[in-house]
């Protein structure tokens, strides 16, 4: 066995030892191991997921050899779950791999408690009725559920669980927490120790831009009744003041100050997104609250009291032109404030835990530290039960998608047979993916599954779609005939490339959910393999 640190090096650089440990602890169940399911698990097994259980009742047929890499000639006639499981084991001996030779639909019907042993269930290629039943089971048992489906050149991925909270959301672009427009006393006095008119040119060009901006913002506020630049003219004037402060053309610190001046103009205090989390009713914590909400309760307390409207300071600063000594000093000032904020929050967390009758030390210090560092970036994702979405989708959203210009097919491939009121292809795919399940429930096969009944199937799918749109409350809408015909052409085919793509997305979502890092998809992701104008629908 290879040294895991080396083997997993390229992913540890993304989710770290903690993320990896979460993956290695998790227990994943896969329903149906066609190419979509097999590819999902392949990616997870390579990354060192803890254990997997493959559930599939079918035997390997010739057709499976043409779309699934995890079975081969020698698998013909054998249990598909067994063959896929043994190949997955070959990929990574650190993973515990099991299989159950049983049809998922049967298992959902006869043994619902089976699912409660898992951290997460990946349900692939399920029809609507099974999805609804499984969703109820997993919600009840607090098991994370991901649906993935490949259908011809289309597909979807949908996460389902009551609530997913993220501390380490790791956004790519996020404003540094520098408090240039709201400095605390120590930062203010550090800045005051600098003279912007210093004669020594070397000293002048090494003043960190943070200092330049704090001083200038302070001066501006003094002469403007306490307010900072807000209008376009004022912002320009502020930048001109910065330019005027330069003594030579090559002063990188002043160039950085001008480029970063927007950080002075940003509003003080917390974002509306964070405010929304603080206002959530879950902040009223009791003994059944999750650690996350206990932490948020403490955060709310901090923001309203010690923080003076601000979240705890993050404590890190970006690289900037400066002498080493001054940079390190500045860094220490930020770190000291972050540490003080953390200690305040920690105290509140311990008190809250005590108040709700839990062990005050039940949340580790490292978690509280990470929470403070990421307090401005918290995320809460909630998912509607799939049954609610299916029976009463968000109608205004649905109507919006139906008329959305951005996701329409390019005009040159849509011929005149289309009805103009509905050309958004992603929402069309969504409705058709539901219509084919309704079709299958009525006619015992998917539209176009057999060559012999194509014309009849097209007519039937069309009327099924109209019926579905009526049931959803979109009486006036209709789908482009081209798209309906394409759906029949696909005939429920599970193409390898589409399955690898949809399965790839599903595995990426599994990683985000298990590591509790990054942000999972929040709606229904519709894969459009026709022109790749895929879309997330919030229904």
């Amino acid at each position: 066995m290879a040294e895991p640190k080396v083997k997993y090096d390229r992913q540890l650089r993304i989710w770290g030892d903690q993320g990896q440990a979460a993956l290695e602890k998790s227990n994943i169940c896969l329903l149906n191991c066609g190419p979509t399911g097999s590819e999902t698990l392949k990616n997870l097994v390579l990354g060192g997921i803890g254990s997997i259980t493959v559930v599939d009742g079918s035997k390997v047929e010739a057709g499976d050899l043409g779309n699934n890499f995890l079975v081969d000639q020698s698998s013909l006639g054998q249990s598909k779950a067994k063959c896929v499981c043994s190949f997955l084991q070959e990929l990574n001996d650190a993973v515990k791999a099991k299989f159950v030779e049983e049809y998922p639909d049967t298992l959902i019907e006869t043994n619902p408690s089976f699912f409660s042993q898992f951290t997460l269930v990946v349900a692939t290629q399920l029809v609507e009725s099974s999805m609804v039943k499984l969703d109820r089971i997993c919600r009840e048992a607090n098991v994370i559920l991901i649906f993935a489906r490949s259908y011809g050149l289309t597909g979807f991925v949908r996460i389902s669980l009551k609530e997913h909270t993220v501390i380490e959301s790791k956004p790519e672009h996020f404003l540094d927490d520098l408090r240039l427009n709201n400095p605390w006393p120590e930062l203010k006095s550090f800045a005051e120790g600098f003279d912007l008119n210093v004669q020594d040119p070397v000293a002048h060009k090494h003043i960190p831009y943070v200092v330049i901006l704090v001083k200038l913002a302070d001066e501006w506020a003094k002469s403007h009744g306490g307010s900072l630049p807000s209008t376009r003219e004022e912002k320009k004037e502020f930048k001109d003041l910065l330019k005027a402060g330069m003594v030579a053309q090559d002063e990188d610190n002043y160039r950085e100050a001008i480029e970063s001046s927007f950080k002075v103009f940003a509003p003080r205090g917390i974002s509306s997104e964070l405010q929304q989390i603080l206002n959530d009713s879950s902040v009223e914590v009791d003994s059944s609250s999750s650690d996350f909400w206990v932490l948020v309760a403490a955060l709310k307390d901090f923001v309203t009291n010690e923080g003076g409207g601000e979240a705890p300071l993050e404590g890190s600063i970006p690289d900037m032109t400066s002498s080493t000594e001054q940079y390190v000093n500045l860094q220490n000032i930020y770190q000291a404030k972050a540490e003080a904020d953390f200690l305040a929050i920690e105290q509140m967390v311990r008190n809250t835990l005590k108040k709700i009758g839990r062990d005050p030390n039940s949340i580790p210090t490292a978690t509280i530290k990470s929470f403070c560092k990421n307090a401005r970036k918290l995320k809460v994702c909630r998912y509607r039960p799939i049954e609610n979405e299916f029976n009463s989708p968000n109608l205004p959203e649905l109507q919006k998608y139906l008329t959305d210009e951005d996701y329409r097919l390019s005009p040159f491939i849509v011929n005149s047979s289309n009805l103009p009121e509905l050309q958004n292809i992603a929402v069309g795919i969504y409705i058709l993916l539901r219509a084919v399940d309704r079709f299958a429930a009525n006619y015992n096969s998917f539209p176009g599954q057999f060559d012999s009944a194509m014309d009849e199937d097209i007519a039937r799918l069309k009327s099924t779609t109209i019926g579905l749109l009526n049931d959803l409350g979109c009486n006036s809408a209709a789908l482009p005939e081209d798209l309906i015909n394409e759906m029949c052409r696909f005939g429920a085919a599970e193409l390898h490339a589409v399955a690898a793509l949809v399965g790839g997305i599903a595995s990426q979502e599994v990683i985000k959910l298990i590591t509790r890092q990054f942000v999972p998809i929040s709606g229904t992701y519709i894969f459009n393999g026709i022109d790749h104008k895929s879309q997330i629908l919030f229904l």
Partner: protein, 452 residues
């Protein structure tokens, strides 16, 4: 057992693909002709080259082999490393040290019967240009800008324009390109002469930011500064003349130790061995799922280009899964003056000019500045810098007239391979030149120009 011998009632291997390739469709490409012949052509005649057998390449080989393609080749100069195993699913621990291309080809052939994959364990520059012309489509699974640029130039060199400067369809060599970093990636389709080539949109790949040497030497502030000081300055001071080898663990450890010393000296936190490796080797984080997604998008587009079975991606897809899921299709525009996919740089020459003099001109040409040139004309080597055997064979041509060497054609395309400097770095490049001989108007005037 051939597919055709399977009784009709029994589902065949191509059960799912048949739906796409045998049935007529409505949202399809203009060339789509569904039917048995299409699958058969895909099976027998369409050759695809996969460039790179790493994270994307392994996936591409599998995806293409399961998308109806039977004739594949793969080229990669690398050997398997332990750090590949978290995503390059065709490799096992016992394969470490073996050539990637060979192991990847073998594994896919073992599992998918009837697929033929020819591995090439060499550099992409080692193959002559005609090698690349054998393929219907070139799929790129690369992690470097230089390698993409090279293949792009080769593929674009086959492109010919008619007298109205429209690309000749039969000379278009389609490319499908993918790239990933962490949870992000891109997939694109390049139809030289029709959609932008890699060079037209080179700005999409900004050059890597380097730290100023004075910061490293005088005012280090971050862990990366300390590491780069040890790597770029201290190493040379101590090991005069001995080049730093990033793959030698002893070398890496030395840089790490020096970086730690420097960080301690200046009170800078954050130097770890893993971070040192990351900075020195410019390691790009990579995971299985993203590679799978991007490769699958590329394989799907390859199938669409080869068959017309659906609309093709037009022309650049970006994928970002780090915050929810954002995908976007952008239709980039060609650069009409592109040196690589444009009609070529026109060079007017006197018919008496020798090959040597021509090569001197290339070095002086302001748009080219091309040194160490190797020159080919219609697949024939006029002069080659390497290997020595070829150099010796072609050396006598240097003193001959280019006009004669080019078969006394009044104008034609010449390919030149050589070195050019870009951002102070010498890079290999390939250029397409439209050579026109002055005073030679056409075939009718051949006699008057024949004196040289």
């Amino acid at each position: 057992m051939a597919d055709t011998s399977v009784p009709l009632q029994q589902p065949s291997r191509s059960r799912d693909l048949d739906k796409l390739l045998l049935r007529p469709g409505n949202l399809v490409g203009p060339t789509f002709e569904p039917g048995e012949q299409l699958s058969k052509d895909l099976d027998e005649y369409v050759r695809i080259l996969v460039v790179g057998a790493g994270g994307l390449g392994c996936e591409l080989l599998k995806d293409l082999a399961l998308s109806g393609f039977r004739n594949l080749e793969v080229i990669d100069m690398d050997r398997i490393e332990v750090t590949n195993l978290n995503r390059q699913f065709l490799f096992r621990l016992e394969d470490v040290g073996k050539p990637k291309a060979e192991v990847a080809a073998k594994r896919v052939m073992e599992r998918i019967s009837g697929v033929d994959i020819v591995p090439h364990f060499c550099r992409i520059e080692d193959k002559n240009i005609e090698f690349y012309n054998e393929f219907a489509i070139i799929a790129l699974g690369l992690d470097s800008i230089e390698a993409r640029s090279y293949i792009n130039t080769v593929a674009c060199s086959f492109l010919e324009y008619d007298s109205d400067d429209n690309p000749r369809e039969e000379t278009i060599k389609p490319m499908v390109d993918g790239g990933t970093e962490g949870f992000k990636g891109h997939a694109r389709v390049i139809m030289p002469g029709i959609t932008p080539c890699f060079e037209c949109t080179i700005w999409l790949f900004p050059p890597q930011v380097k730290f100023p040497l004075c910061t490293l030497a005088e005012t280090p502030r971050t862990a990366a500064h300390c590491i780069e000081y040890a790597h770029l300055i201290k190493w040379d001071e101590v090991h005069r003349g001995v080049p730093f080898d990033p793959d030698n663990p002893k070398n890496m450890k030395w840089v790490y130790d020096e970086a730690v010393k420097r960080a301690e000296l200046f009170g800078i936190p954050g130097v770890t061995y893993s971070f040192t490796q990351g900075v020195v080797k410019n390691i790009i984080p990579a995971i299985a799922s993203t590679n799978a997604i991007i490769s699958a998008a590329c394989a799907l587009e390859t199938l669409k280009i080869a068959t017309g079975c659906s609309k093709t991606l037009s022309n650049y897809l970006t994928y970002n899964g780090s915050e929810g899921l954002h995908t976007k299709v952008t239709e980039f525009e060609r650069d009409k003056d592109c040196l690589v996919c444009g009609p070529g740089i026109r060079i007017e020459l006197d018919p008496s000019i020798t090959l040597q003099k021509f090569m001197d001109l290339l070095e002086e040409h302001p748009k080219l500045q091309l040194s160490k040139a190797s020159v080919t004309h219609r697949g024939k080597n006029l002069y080659m810098q390497a290997p020595p055997v070829l150099e010796e064979m072609t050396r006598p041509n240097l003193s001959l007239s280019l006009f004669n060497l080019m078969g006394k054609l009044p104008k034609d395309i010449v390919h030149v391979n050589g070195m050019t400097s870009k951002n102070d770095q010498k890079t290999s490049c390939l250029r397409k030149l439209r050579v026109v001989f002055k005073g030679v108007d056409g075939v009718a005037d051949m006699d008057t120009a024949g004196g040289a």
